[in-house]
Symmetry: D2
Subunit: 346 residues, 4 copies
């Protein structure tokens, strides 16, 4: 059994890690870390875990944890892990970081968008960006995984097949994203109160959302050219789910058939990316609670643009599920182990 | 492997049966029956099953089905199964009926509340009421299971410990129930449109809901006296979940401690009924997607009444989950097989 | 023009007061008080008021306010008004208090249920309980109005006709209430986050909700006997709306016709209470945004109980709307002035 | 008093017309037309109107209606009005059509996108496109108003100031739209059931939505050049509201200040278009139930694109409110008469 510790187990992503790992046949959670609920029973913080988890929340002591477990998941605020992670820890334990601390290779970019000084920039180089479908092989031998952001995961998987095929004019990429409210976390803020979100939709972080450089970096790698995009996230009145609607002009000579083939080839062997039948638009509800990403594209010959769509559960494939997928790769397990949850409908 | 056929696989309860059985290690679904979608791919009706189910919907031919499978689940409108079920079918196959056709022992009561003539009243006697926590032993040797209604399941489990202990004045029992919209089925009706249900709550079927006699029959058995109740269901703007708030006067001499003890004893060994800590009120979200029922009670000494509460996922423990629990009992499997889904939160 | 000041203008009830008073032909709001947003533009706190309100939030200085306006509305936490209200203020200005400070005549009961020492008990006697349909005449000449709680308003109007007619066994009254989330206020609390409330229903304050003694006092007056009830509120995933489902045994000899007549007589002349057609159950959506209360009752002869139902917008008739109705009475205006908003559907 | 008749009074737009006209000081509704509910009391179809409307639904007889009223509103399926409208009717009565029949000047475009043969193409020329902020003067003297679609209204008002100023590269315009469910109408369809829409978001009609040519025609007029766009609508789990997020590259030399000024100039005198403070993103909840459209724009210098946003209540400014605004213009009333509803929050 793999012994797992979670730092930040009482946020929504932490809670989902617990849900998934409880169903994982090879993992035992031995440390439920929490800054806000130390000493409280975990099942009092998440009553759905009543009788399923008997443990009490512990302090976030990463050094002690490193001695006790095989893998640490950190579902913590930006900057936390960068401030405490050391070579010594990485010598003892695998670390899968759900925060953004090690996702962006250029530390200056990170510091500019996040407004934080990075405290362990030397480790950025070593960290592997844990988008499993992209970096499967390098993940297997990593010590430190930068688990991707929710928007970047869904955006990348929606666009990458065409970007890699060289079919898109990358200067024209626009990403319009929609997310459920769990992405905003469990902190008590007026903006996330039921009455403020319900019966409402808005854009936020227009031109300034922190996932922008992460998406750009990954798309640049896919397209093998520097990519700058517009990324506009919206808050949707639902708990879970991310929907990406991305637009780009296709290059001269690219046909609908070529577009379809690019997706088919990219995802033929992927367990968690489902290319929908032609004409079927992804819906977040069809993937809720699962690790699937549903993608599809529509070519609009009137404008010469392709509309690329992807739907995903932001808490699963966009956070905890992908973290477990990374863990499976790190420990040599079949990638789907413990992740075959069937989407919940309705 | 147990071969299972589902008649009515394209309703919400049928869809949930598929979800649960796909994760069951000992079952293979070999027949997806549907009146409305014959010849269509099942995964087009429920897109969440894309790539998980390759089958096409078949006609609802119970006789053919009886020859091919080991167990038939019927998630069909009232009266359907009563009209087609025969001794010959029951000789060949176990039948678990999610409709109300065989739940009520007194056929006259059934016919009055449902407004249908029962076409196979001889089989009512044989049918076992599939409330597993109540009838576990008789279920094991049955051929025909009447899977309980959603409201009756949650109501019974919330009240029965005190009714059996003889602590309640059964003439005073009032059940105020709240349900998500999936209980109303997938039929296209104006009343169940998003805009009619959202931002709204109403009572319905006041004094006339068909689950009333089913609840009364089961509570009568628990209390060993004839029971007549008020039952008022309400429609709540959420997909899943049932919450029961039941009221009754307690008999002279009954104390808070005795009440607690009655629940503790009743559910100490039950896998799927969770008696919450004193003072914690059940919430439907804490059991969503799972087979758990969370119960608790508050004794109000000002009025001498006990408020009994229960929360459950109406599609799981209230329908498909309990049906699978019954199947496990019928086939000698551990009762929890395939049913340990952790509740989804948020 | 009546000059109005609002203390606590930035809570949900305060915001609704502003919405309603902006449409009132005889009122001008001259003071937007707020503890948390002093110095901020009101329209930045409530962006729906952009270009409709140009004012800036002011401190909650009741003495200064008393000199400047004709009526003060206080939509403040329990205990605030009791701590600052004086005879001098009441000599200068009418006060309509949306908090509970002056609703309960027995100060000991108030202090026990609210856990606060009442700082101006002498003024309780003078205060008039502002349930307009009940105390219309005494309101007209009052200086201090205790605007009723949301649950008490809806409960009283649902039950009172039968209680006053002497048709109910008052010892059997049980009130099961359901409320939207705006009743919980705009404070940032984890329990009221979107993800915690959405797709969820729960009871809360079982046996201990503070509106219980207020309901009991008013029903005691209606029935002319001391009344003790069970009151169980539930939190429903919707912004606005309260639904009451109340149960009581009717006395020997009371018929369905007598019940109907009692309601008809009670509400024949009432502008804001709509007795629905027989058999139609109230729905909160049918009154949203309006000052109406929809009521109806079903007599269940199987149990000899009557199920009394009422639906209301908790922020309007349950708070701001009723406050304006009281203001109209205080200033000799037609009671419906500014309150004829048509319910918003869908 | 203006006598008004409504054909299609029992759809959501028809219901909203009733709500608004009940509060209009100069209008009396004398005909509630309905195909599906003839002979039923209107208040039984829309229970919110109980005691506010005593009328019974009448047949949709436009010729009879033309003799009885001053203005006819048609909130009917595509093709209906085109099939029955005649010169004789227009000689007797003003007609405001909420369907698409007379919105698009090129009948071939209409027939291609709607898949219907237009039965009265001669009248298209005469019809005035009733976007009040654009065609105010020509509306005043019209007989037949083509009330704009919901998406086109919000899109046009969000983009037009920059299009008219010549600041946008019109070949790059992309419109990503989000709508509440009321836009789908009150017809009973599985896709619009609560359980199918709740906790879900999807794109629909990608590349093929019928509002596309209407938007293109109006933007072409604004920009004085032929415009082809991408338009992608999404279905959001909320009753009301449309949010537009539109993208375009700005021309060389256009600055943030020029963009702001273009909006300021365009809307300085407009009663119903609110240009938000710089940096504030529109939210649909801030305009719910009102005739306002909130707009704003963000210039992203990294990409040289401007993100143009607009929020509106689709049933009000997107349908019934704008129809009443048109009626006010037609009858020489102040444009805001009966339309000053304050947005409902929360």
């Amino acid at each position: 059994m793999i012994k797992a510790g979670i730092i930040g187990a009482t946020g929504y992503a932490g809670g989902e890690l617990v849900r998934i790992l409880l169903g994982h046949p090879q993992v035992e959670i031995t440390w439920y870390g929490s800054k806000s609920y130390i000493g409280q029973k975990y099942a009092q913080v998440y009553q759905n875990m009543f009788r399923l988890v008997e443990d009490t929340c512990l302090d976030d002591q990463i050094e002690e944890l490193a001695r006790q477990v095989d893998v640490i998941f950190t579902a913590t605020p930006q900057g936390f892990l960068a401030g405490v992670l050391t070579e010594e820890i990485l010598d003892q334990v695998k670390v899968i970081d759900l925060s953004a601390d090690y996702r962006i290779k250029d530390v200056a970019v990170y510091e500019r968008w996040y407004g934080i000084r990075h405290k362990s920039p030397r480790l950025i180089e070593e960290a592997v960006y844990g988008l499993c479908e992209k970096n499967r092989e390098s993940i297997k031998s990593a010590r430190l995984i930068a688990n991707p952001g929710c928007y970047p995961t869904c955006t990348y998987l929606s666009i990458a097949p065409l970007a890699k095929a060289g079919y898109l004019d990358m200067k024209t990429v626009i990403v319009d994203a929609k997310s459920g409210v769990s992405g905003a976390g469990r902190g008590a803020k007026v903006d996330n109160l039921y009455c403020e979100v319900n019966e409402n939709i808005k854009a936020y972080g227009v031109g300034s959302h922190r996932h922008t450089p992460e998406i750009e970096e990954q798309l640049s790698l896919a397209a093998a050219e520097p990519v700058t995009i517009n990324f506009t996230p919206h808050l949707v009145p639902m708990n879970r789910g991310i929907l990406i609607t991305a637009y780009a002009s296709v290059k001269e000579g690219v046909t609908e058939g070529m577009i379809r083939s690019a997706y088919e080839e990219a995802y033929r062997k992927e367990a968690f990316v489902r290319l929908l039948e032609p004409g079927v638009c992804p819906q977040t509800k069809w993937v809720e609670g699962s690790n699937y990403v549903d993608v599809n594209a529509v070519y609009d010959e009137r404008t010469g643009r392709v509309i690329m769509m992807g739907a995903m559960d932001n808490v699963v494939k966009g956070a905890a599920g992908q973290a477990v997928q990374n863990m499976n790769l790190l420990f040599g397990l079949p990638e789907q182990t413990g992740l075959l949850m069937v989407p919940l409908f309705p």
